[in-house]
Amino acid sequence: MKQDGWLVHIVDDDEAVRDSLGFLLECNNIEACDYCSADEFLRTAPANIPCLVLDLHMPGTSGLELLKQLRARGLAMPIIVISGRIDPVLGAEVRAAGASAMLSKPFDDQALLALIKQALAMGRIVG
């Protein structure tokens, strides 16, 4: 049973990751909407987003750049960064840019679901 407004936007260039993540969320009654690049997200995503799961390494605009752009526009929605390659320097940069949380691929589904639920619940209180 889907819960109202529980919608997560996913930006990742890897098709298998997008598909499997959407599937995982659906099985946990969370709706997913995915984009294969930051550029596609910027072009087509709605203005008001409850939660974003964002990959870092992508062709074109990178996840980090997108994160910075969104924060620069004053958008405060929870953004969970996922990446297959995070080193300490990059990690610090991502945090400084305003990521809500950061997970390395492959990640524990419970950890991600907990973060998402927390983000959505917070958004619900704030909104």
């Binding site: 890897d14 499997s20 946990n28 990640f107």
Partner: protein, 521 residues
């Protein structure tokens, strides 16, 4: 004749031209004057006191004094020190003792010009008597030109000798029948025999027994007036060890152009040959190092690549687990099975990545096998695209299915292709219409692989030197990648070429179809 000459011809105390003498005498006088003035050598007549009586035109040229400046003056004027001071003494001594030192003989002395400079001359002195009066005739032959030429020739000879002495190459001359006539210090170093030992011996001294015939061939060429250049062969050191040499032999001719011997220049290439062998071994090693170094750069990318399917697998499995909880419906079971199928596919994807990785890193013994070239290309391209932000790059693979199986070293050929494709991808980073076109084709003799990109091409300054080591357009590049590629392709008997295609660059690799498995890579 000018007035100066007339004066010279007349001589200081001449009274024979007063017009009172008969025609025979006049004729003789004319002849005498002509003789004096046309003589190329200087002619001076002095009286017993050393005062100049006659001084011809040639003398004016030699000494720089005009006749009227010297006539009646002491001849020592024309001599440099110490003759200048001693000449009066010589004359007095002669008058007293009649002991001849130069008179009637002649010798080489120095003359002094008006400007104080001196010159070598051959002076012959004769003695005569006229009207009871003694006189001395000096004939002066200028030696400066001859001396200068000799000095030059000696200088040239000395220079030549120094060059021969100091040359790093052994320089040996020999007669036509092979006897050594000269032997420089490098010959001594190279072959162990001293010049004293070697000169006079037969050149066969240096020949290994199985190469004696070479001398006959070389001499036959020389007989035809031809040279032998950079002929690589083996000679023997005194201690019996073999010396690898590069020989240049040229005929030596006498002044008339007849061949009288041969000069032989030998360069010791033992070290060069060893260095070449060493370089080959190093290249083998370098190829491995190159792989590892590229590995270092790639490992992060590959770890990233591997984490994608792992993340997907984890997601699918966890989702399926979720679906299977609490007595699932038929629909949930079906979806769970689909998820497991997708997870399984992702494990295969991860496995492929790891297999490529292992193939790439392992240094294998040179081993050729029969391969499907298109399969080799496909795998290399897959590996090259891995970990690259290639989403916006159009890839077109046009592989000719008619290429027969080829004998090659798969991992090495893949390394070359990987290098070329990764270069192309890097060149096209951030370009709008990025297209990578890879094709294969074959004719009767060879298969050709073509990789074309739409990047900026090569800058003019490196275009001609791409395959030299340490040439790179990358800021942090070592510039050894393409050099390794070239050695690999050449080891396969093939050719690798690069050119600008406008836009972009084209790399072409041609591999012969005829390589045998037994050939060493």
């Amino acid at each position: 004749m000018n007035s100066k000459s007339d004066k010279a011809g007349r001589a200081a105390s001449d009274s024979a031209s007063d017009g009172s003498i008969d025609s025979g005498l006049r004729e003789r006088h004319g002849l005498f004057t002509a003789l004096l003035e046309t003589a190329v050598d200087g002619i001076i007549v002095i009286d017993p006191g050393g005062l100049i009586q006659i001084y011809n035109q040639a003398c004016e040229r030699l000494f720089g004094y005009r006749a009227d400046e010297v006539l009646g003056r002491n001849v020592k004027l024309l001599m440099p020190s110490p003759y200048h001071q001693e000449h009066d003494g010589y004359l007095a001594h002669y008058h007293k003792t009649h002991e001849r030192r130069i008179i009637g003989i002649g010798r080489e002395v120095l003359g002094q010009r008006k400007d104080g400079t001196t010159f070598p001359m051959y002076l012959s002195v004769g003695e005569g008597t006229l009207d009871g009066q003694r006189f001395f005739v000096g004939i002066i032959h200028d030696l400066s030109a001859i001396r200068q030429e000799m000095a030059q020739r000696e200088g040239a000879d000395r220079l030549l000798a120094q060059i021969v002495q100091s040359s790093d190459d052994a320089i040996i001359s020999k007669t036509l029948d092979g006897f050594i006539t000269s032997w420089n210090p490098s010959a001594e170093r190279m072959f162990g025999y001293g010049a004293v030992e070697a000169v006079g011996k037969h050149i066969s001294l240096l020949f290994p027994s199985n190469r004696i015939a070479e001398e006959k061939e070389i001499m036959a060429r020389l007989g035809l007036g031809l040279s032998v250049t950079h002929y690589e062969t083996v000679r023997l050191h005194k201690d019996g060890r073999e010396v690898l040499v590069s020989l240049s032999v040229a005929p030596i001719c006498d002044g008339a152009g007849a061949i009288i011997g041969a000069s032989k220049v030998a360069r010791d290439i033992t070290e060069r040959k060893q260095a070449e062998a060493h370089a080959l071994a190093l290249q083998d090693e370098l190829s491995h190092v190159g792989r590892l170094s590229a590995m270092g750069q790639m490992s992060a990318a590959i770890a990233h690549e591997l984490n994608q399917p792992l993340a997907a697998i984890s997601n699918y499995v966890k989702a399926a687990q979720r679906l299977l909880e609490n007595d699932p419906t038929e629909q949930k079971l079906k979806t769970a099975r689909e998820a497991m199928e997708k997870a399984s596919n992702q494990t295969l994807r991860a496995g492929t990545i790891i297999r490529y990785l292992r193939d790439y890193v392992e240094k294998r013994d040179s081993a050729r096998s029969r391969e499907n070239l298109n399969e080799v290309i496909r795998e290399a391209v897959t590996l090259a695209m891995m970990g690259h932000k290639h989403r916006n790059i159009g890839l077109s693979l046009t592989l000719d299915p008619a290429i027969p199986p080829m004998v090659l070293e798969k991992v090495q050929i893949q390394q070359v292709l990987l290098n070329i494709v990764r270069n192309a991808l890097e060149a096209m980073a951030g370009i709008d219409h990025a297209e990578l076109t890879i094709s294969s084709a074959a004719d009767a003799a060879a298969a050709t692989i073509t990789v074309r990109d739409t990047g900026p091409g090569f800058p003019a300054e490196v275009a001609g030197r791409l395959f030299q080591p340490f040439v790179t357009t990358k800021q942090d590049g070592m510039g050894i990648g393409l050099k390794i590629c070239q050695s690999i392709i050449e080891a396969h008997g093939g050719i690798i070429e690069a050119r600008n295609a406008n836009p972009g660059a084209i790399f072409t690799v041609r591999l012969p179809l005829s390589l045998k498995e037994a050939d060493k890579a």
